[in-house]
Symmetry: C2
Amino acid sequence: MPLAASVESSRPPLHLSHQAATAPEQPISRLMAEALRNPELISLAAGFVDERTLPCKLVAETVERLMQDPVAGRSALQYGLTEGDAVLRRQIAERYFAADHATHADAMVLSTGSNQLLHLISDCLLEPGDVVICAAPTYFVYLAMLRDLGVTAISVAGDVEGMLPADLDATLTRLTDTGRRDRVKVLYLVPYFDNPAATTMSVARRREILEVLERHDASGPPIALLADNAYRDLRYDGEDLPCFVDCGADPTRTLETGTFSKNLSPGIRVGWGVLPEPLRGAVLRRKSVIDFGSPQFNQAIVRELLVGGDLDQHLREVLLPSYRSKRDAMVAACERWLRPIAGVAFDVPEGGMYVWLRLPETLNASPGSSLWDTCVQHGVLYVPGEYCFASEGAPVQANTMRLSFGVQEETRITRGIELLAEAVRAQLG
Amino acid sequence: MPLAASVESSRPPLHLSHQAATAPEQPISRLMAEALRNPELISLAAGFVDERTLPCKLVAETVERLMQDPVAGRSALQYGLTEGDAVLRRQIAERYFAADHATHADAMVLSTGSNQLLHLISDCLLEPGDVVICAAPTYFVYLAMLRDLGVTAISVAGDVEGMLPADLDATLTRLTDTGRRDRVKVLYLVPYFDNPAATTMSVARRREILEVLERHDASGPPIALLADNAYRDLRYDGEDLPCFVDCGADPTRTLETGTFSKNLSPGIRVGWGVLPEPLRGAVLRRKSVIDFGSPQFNQAIVRELLVGGDLDQHLREVLLPSYRSKRDAMVAACERWLRPIAGVAFDVPEGGMYVWLRLPETLNASPGSSLWDTCVQHGVLYVPGEYCFASEGAPVQANTMRLSFGVQEETRITRGIELLAEAVRAQLG
């Protein structure tokens, strides 16, 4: 190998494209590094799902059944359609939409997790310099994706039901008045058990948001409503709510997405989105160049689990009881150790995987802060709330944190909150 | 649903980003539409794999075994590392590289098929206006990807061993002389059983190509050698050859990629690439934003199949004998019906899934040509060779076609070639 040996060390490295060279590290990487350095830490940071709910037996049985039928088995191991398995698309439409199932199934694209679809959608709708409006706080991976695309995120304040319509209205008016309305292309919302705010939008709130969008429709280019329904199935109290399309949203500018990563398995990773034309066509053109469609095998497994009712049974018997207990454990621990501290606030989430904690305003929970270091010393890790705020719009709340009850067992959740409360008290001196 | 009903039809559709709005339809889509309209057609076009070789039983047994171990099973259903399963990366390094296995495993990124990785790599290395040098003909999906990125592909002529070093040298010299060398960032090659040319590069040819790259290294920015080893395991005659890195290529500018789509299952779709820094870091940053890493479940299945030797047994006992017979059937049919036609030429591929057919130069095999229409009327479909040529460089050969023996059974392959020969003879009058 004389060529390599003689020249390797003296040569300059490959050049990266401008976008690749300037892409920042994902902030969450810092947390993961911290967790790896300190394996004893109780991580309330990771958004991983509960290990014990992962359906090993169910998946093995489903694959066994699928592979016994040579036609279905071979089809699952072959290339499929770029838009994904037709029967699964129909099943998803029937599961999450009140009507027009055939139409929604036709407009659906399946993906390798819904994040891949969020990326494709954003890439097909947004140019550098465009504006996406989102909640304060919002999903930090989506914020990182927007930064990567050179897109400006502007956040709008919320309450326990999510984004405030009056604030959305004021933001759109301000953008119109300052000549920036033309760049507003997308409103991004996580309407069910928001990540990280853990809020759920009532039907009335959804309709108010739609009315605001309606009012501003003619003032600039159409605004796509991107509804990320990732956690919809993870409801522990109360009744399911209709999605935006079923609340009267205009289907020509509403994008409903979802995933089977949270309610089934992130290792199988099947996501979906119902997209209006011409967006659907554009997403499919890109996807056909990138990966020809997501793995058919994974789609076939999810299809079998939906057709037979196995996913619902798994949710009812395993996943929801487990997460409900863990939610209750985290809320009980927060009530016991954190609520008594003056200035602490949190709401009880009806579903999802998170509690959003507000600390006294004098405290800073940012990474590298004294509170952060104290928590690491005490042995507990969280997602700093500041990661979840856009750089423009509603102000960053550095005194917040996202606490996940997804991964840890109940005793560890309880102990983690106790350690966190100790650290907070130590800061308050 | 009053909002939607009242406004839906009168409103303008969502705007697409410039890139999405101007992206052309993939040419292959036309072929797929033709095949769907005419289900009786014998398609020698599709690059799908042989249905009968798809390992239903093996996959079911592997998933069963994997899911019986709660630790391994749950880990397969959970999120994994962005770079992919560590044991699988090591297995792949040991399978395809002669030495430095730990180093290659560390530099490896797993993906959802190797195409996703080709896209990530290209996105991280190339800016609009940059130049990629490729063979004439070359993989048409990669050409579509480059068009999508605004990148210019320039093709270099080849022979039965692939790209001609003298022509690569002349092309780089010409680009230097015309002030365009600064935009040349990547040389793309399919060194094993090329898609579509079905050529395989000898070790001597690989070294000659490396010498040309070496000579032009200082004349501009580093040129990444992107070696797409998708078909390497599909060898029906002769001995495996070492990859470029094992032929002395500088690992700091050589990108080796591969996939388990062709040798195992495109429905499971696990791809890999060994990437030098800083490219690997850039690809991981993008991937962590797009999908947090590819499905762990699929990687775990491939890992188990490699660790236990099951994939090699499957290749030896099922896949290679089947494809070898089909290759022989296609070659025999070509010899019988096509070779006697003056001006027809083809080589016998040592592996892969394709025969590259050259017709008399007076014939045009483009879609919409008289020959194309006659073939469809006769009942046979092919990939027009012109799809596989870059718009610049070695001239388009419109008298060529890619014939795949991947999907059809032997009798259909034989019949397809007979129909094709009839159509060709009809054209020649």
